[in-house]
Structures are given as C-alpha cells and as structure tokens.
C-alpha cells in the first residue's frame, strides 16, 4: 500500500521515492533538502511554483496560487 508524501502528495512506494531512500520518512525525495531534511513552507511554495511555471507556462502569480491550493490540502501545510 503506497503512502503519500505529507508535503507534496506524491504516492510513495519504491524505496528510492522516499527522502534519503529511507522508508521511515513521511516525505519524498523531491521535498527533501540536500541534507535530507524536509523543505519548509516557503521553500516548497517556491519550488512548486517554479515547477508549475516551467512545465505549464503559467504566470508566476497563477502558478503560486495553484501551488498554494495543492499545499493547502496536505498534512504538512494545513492551516498555513
């Protein structure tokens, strides 16, 4: 049964999908800093916004609004 990353919602099944290849982590490798710690809200919002701009070509305002919407439903950021 796949668990979902608490910070971006990605389903995680394979070991390499977990941060630092560590299955006990509840966040994925895309949400980890180089040292393995989970990104904070501002970092995640920035990286997710940049990703949406890059892959869908939205304005940064629209991309940030979308990123906020995605993050609002995830356990790591609810209430932010």
């Amino acid at each position: 049964m796949a668990t979902r990353c608490i910070a971006c919602g990605m389903p995680m099944e394979k070991t390499e999908e977990f941060a630092l290849d560590d299955r006990s982590k509840n966040y994925c490798r895309f949400c980890a800093r180089p040292d393995g710690k989970m990104q904070n809200f501002a970092e995640k919002l920035k990286s997710l916004t940049a990703f949406i701009v890059r892959t869908q070509g939205l304005t940064s305002e629209a991309a940030q609004e979308t990123a906020r919407e995605m993050m609002s439903k995830l356990p790591a950021w609810s209430g932010k």
């Binding site: 796949a2 389903p11 869908q56 609004e65 919407e69 995605m70």
Partner: protein, 195 residues
C-alpha cells in the same frame, strides 16, 4: 471508528458517487442538490449535513477525482517510463473517467474559482510525469529539444480540444478509444528527430 462515524463516512461517499455520476451524465450546471440527494437515496437536508454549500460538494467531487487520478497515474507508471508509455497511461486514466473529465473541462469557467485551481493541480501531476520522461528522451537524443511548458501544452491542447468537442469527433463514443492512438502517434511524430 465508531458505528456512527462509519455510517457518516458511507453517506458522504454515497453523495460524492451520486454527484460524480450525475455530473458525468449532465454536466455540472444542470444538476442541483435535490437531484444529487435523490440519486444518493438520502433527504435533501441530510446532504447539507455533509456539505454546507453546493460549491463545497463540487470541490469535494473534483478533489476526490484528482486524488484518484494521481494515484492511478502513479500506479500505471510503475513499470513504464518512455514518453509514449506515459501518454498511454494518461489516456488510460482519462478513458476511465472520460465523461466526467470532458464535462469538467467544458464547465470549468462557470464553476467556483477553486475548481479551476484544482484542475490545474491535476494537470500539474500529469505535467510532472511528462516532464521527467521527456527530459530523459531529449538527453538520449530520441526527441527534439522542446521547452517543457510547450511540450506539455501541445499535448494537453490537442487532447482537450478533442475531449471538449466529443460530439463532433465521436458522437456518443469514447474519444480515447477512437482517437487516442492516433493522437499519440501524431504527437510523437512531431517530436521525432529526423535521422
């Protein structure tokens, strides 16, 4: 979970399923909460114990659909990695929900703003997989280098045009079944490097 909580959960699910089914058949604008309550087999008042407004219900249906699509795409991609395979997985997910998804695309601008944001979130999950696959294929020299946003928008623009005008392209059938393979072949041909 207590018996009451289980029951509450079951009723909520029934409402979401009923709404999904009616939205798929008739679109989002022609279905009211009375229709949904009737389809779910509950009283109109009971529906509002679970969703305080119609907009809340619409958002919950789209959100559930988005979660399922993300999970399904992820599962389908377990053993696949080429761009063509990703596009096939994308079409497979859409085929399973084609009526609902086509209605959503058509009605999106008349729905609450949140619904539009949710659709962009769903597309974001798809763009993520397409981006990773395309990057690998560009590096391996299989396809021409293209900006990720234009690559994604070319694919999604083509596909959404067919889905939003289903009647024109297939009458009452499935766009994906009738045209899916052609669309992928055409898209891959546009990207292929000339030897």
């Amino acid at each position: 979970m207590t018996r009451r909580a289980v029951q509450k959960d079951q009723t909520r699910r029934k409402i979401l399923d009923a709404a999904y089914s009616l939205f798929s058949q008739r679109g989002f604008l022609d279905v009211n909460t009375i229709d949904i309550a009737e389809e779910a087999g509950i009283s109109h008042g009971a529906l509002f114990l679970h969703f305080s407004t119609r907009d809340d219900l619409v958002n919950a249906v789209i959100s559930k659909f988005g979660d399922e699509i993300a999970k399904r795409t992820h599962d389908l991609l377990e053993s696949r990695s080429s761009l063509r395979e990703i596009l096939e997985a994308h079409l497979e997910c859409i085929r399973e929900n084609e009526s609902f998804y086509s209605r959503l695309l058509r009605d999106i601008h008349s729905l609450p703003k949140n619904a539009g944001l949710q659709l962009t979130c769903i597309l974001s999950a798809v763009s993520h997989h397409i981006f990773l696959a395309a990057q690998r294929e560009i590096e391996n020299g299989n396809i021409v280098p293209v900006a990720p946003n234009l690559l994604f928008n070319t694919w999604i623009g083509l596909l959404h045009h067919y889905l939003m005008n289903r009647e024109l392209f297939v009458g009452t059938g499935s766009v994906v079944e009738r045209h899916g393979k052609n669309l992928i072949d055409h898209f891959m041909k546009l990207l292929a490097l000339k030897n």
